[in-house]
Amino acid sequence: MEKPRTQLMLERLRALQATAPGIEASAVVSVDGLIMASALPAEVEEDRVSAMSAAMLSLGDRIAGELGRGTLQQVYVRGENGYVILSSIGEEAVLTVMARAKAKLGLVFLDMSRAARDLEAILLET
């Protein structure tokens, strides 16, 4: 059962990258920081990305809660060369996306939320 689920998620990640040209890489990570599916470039260390995603999302969640912003929807990091955006997939997983500096953020957000919804369904069904 493990394999088809990973495969389904991977296909959804690839579809995401195909529709949103600004997105360079993406991954699905468990909330405790383990990789579940990834479409990351070879030079990126999966284990580090997944652990960092989980840590960042959990902190974002605490900050949003403590400062009265409600349930966390997204964590957004902007660097000179682009963005890293994290959003939760249900209670159990995180969608991590890396986007180019010139990416159209509105589109990226929209495509990400659609992908997150689909990925949540995949996680629930399988």
């Binding site: 468990s30 909330v31 405790d32 920081g33 383990l34 284990d47 580090r48 997944s50 652990a51 960092m52 989980a54 840590a55 960042m56 959990s58 902190l59 969640d61 605490r62 403590e66 209670e91 159990e92």
Partner: protein, 176 residues
Amino acid sequence: MQTVKIVVTGPFNAGKTAFIGAISEIEVVSTERRITDHSQSTKEQTTVAMDFGRITVDDGLVLYLFGTPGQRRFDFMWEILSEGMLGFIVLVDSVAPETFHEARGILDLFKNYSPACYVVAANKQDLKDAWPPQDLRIALKIDSDVKVVPCVATDKESVKRVLLELLYSILETAEE
């Protein structure tokens, strides 16, 4: 008012989150998440970023306690959290000798980050099979000038003793 940053570290399931939870006077900022890989552990939750707690020692001294994640894939947090610390505590699960090697590795890494004072806390001394502190000292090859303090992380008085021992060590080093 002086504030002192202390880091609580140690291997997975050593009791770091419980340690801070037992003593903190504020609600602990914790980042525990459900464990998804149950082949590794029977524990329900694990820290993925940090714990933060605070304890006022007296009018002039407040301790900020930062707990680290225990799993090595979060080691980037170890370095971040160690910045500016005045001392650190290595918690060791005294009933899990298979984690002693990892505890020693974490200890060496933290010594490498900063020349800060440290003590080793031999946690879970309330359990039947707990290794006594003096045996832990030998197993982990702890220097003779470093304290190995018995500890029960769920007991406030016990946690207080570990923190005081660390503070004494910090003061002694400062006087030298």
